[in-house]
Amino acid sequence: MTQTNPPGADLPEHPDFLWRNPEPKKNYDVVIVGGGGHGLATAHYLVRNHGITNVAVLEKGWLAGGNMARNTTLIRSNYLWDESAAIYEHSLKLWEGLEDDLGYPILFSQRGVLNLAHTEQDVRDSVRRVEANKLNGIDAEWLGPDEVKRICPIINTAEDIRYPVQGATYQPRAGIAKHDYVAWGFGRRVDEAGVDLIQDCEVTGFTVDGDRVTGVRTTRGDIGCGTVALCAAGHTSVLLDQLGVRAPLQSHPLQALVSELLEPVHPTIVMSNAVHVYVSQAHKGELVMGAGVDSYNGYGQRGAFHIIERQMAAAVELFPVFARAHLLRSWAGIVDVTPDASPIVGHTPYENVFVNAGWGTGGFKATPGIGWCFAHTLAHGEPHPYVAPFGLDRFTTGALVDEHGAAAVAH
């Protein structure tokens, strides 16, 4: 008889030291606003790829306590358009080497993702996306219902359910990572390099000289800066309002929930845009589930209960075995959504202020990729080629990157 460890038994211990808690200095070459995954990854690649270490990451709460701590950690790169495929695949390749780069466990588990199709139109869109992915060198397959069942035996593939499974796209290299460990890995690495991680420090305004920002006002005093990098996810509009800059961003609550710990039953990631649920099983054994955003604008880091009810109804139809699982807790983050479901990265009307926002429901997977490209953007004062298509000006030129089909609700 083989003895297997109970789920979660091989999780690494929590580290005994995280990072320093320094007082803010008077001046930094680069001030990053927002200590989530994107801000931390940007700091990491500023150090690693550009040798820039006089950097502060300012976080209004605790480090990576925003969406970084609240997301459902799905990582994939099967996006439709070339522009999105390029940045998300760049990111996925970095995830594949991130544990070595950070010298820290992140539990990246490439267990694959099934994106289900429930209607004929879903099927056509999915097959098209698979072909587009392949042309971009991204691993993708189209699977029929029987193959879906083989990969994830607990899915209900009966034909008489309300939204029968007509097949799925499959990206084997997709996966999940332990989000807190990812943040801690980046945090420790940049702290070692001399970057100041300053928590409990909310940016409340800016000091402006013509078309340059000379410093940020914070709850811990004024801090001078060479360059400002906004990585504040759902709160970007609040900061841009301070600068008199408008951007087409809308902030919405996005909820997730976990079940109690269960034996391993769910070997891959399953997502469905049509019935609005997606699920994976965490390393310890919780079923981790999410759905779409709550419809209204909100900053309250909670959402409405009926959204959860609908999501659970969809989940139980697709996975009848979930009917007996207990819900352990639910929460929300605040995500910033754009009209074309693609991020906004690059220049603002201020010469030395750069924005990274609008990742909406799906920016965790981009963490190392955007960190890499945004650091390049800050170091050179020009967008990295992978983020150049995502400038604010696309809403005026009309060169939108419309990823609704691949990204709007799914993560």
Partner: protein, 91 residues
């Protein structure tokens, strides 16, 4: 779930309503004269305040009528709702 005060039907459960975004976005008076930037603002740009926000809701599963509301986006509380062009408000 919160109760939303439809100006015609009175308080009803949130699930009966549909969100319509920022209120009072008027179609441009002289569309042919708009610059690309102005078109972009009309089509894509909406306010996104943390605090009070004037927005549109529709009582889609009830009287099916649109109305304006003022809501706090931080607490989600409705401060007032009103029929279109109606000045007086109630909660």
């Amino acid at each position: 779930m919160q109760l939303i005060h439809c100006p015609w039907c009175g308080p009803r459960e949130e699930v009966e309503f549909h969100y319509g975004g920022q209120a009072d976005i008027a179609y441009p008076e002289r569309p042919a004269e708009l610059s690309d930037q102005e078109w972009a603002e009309y089509v894509f740009y909406r306010d996104n305040p943390k605090g009070t926000f004037a927005e549109r809701w529709s009582h889609s599963a009830g009287c099916r009528r649109w109305f304006n509301a003022v809501r706090d986006t931080h607490t989600y509380r409705f401060l007032s709702t009103a029929k279109p062009r109606q000045k007086e408000v109630r909660v």
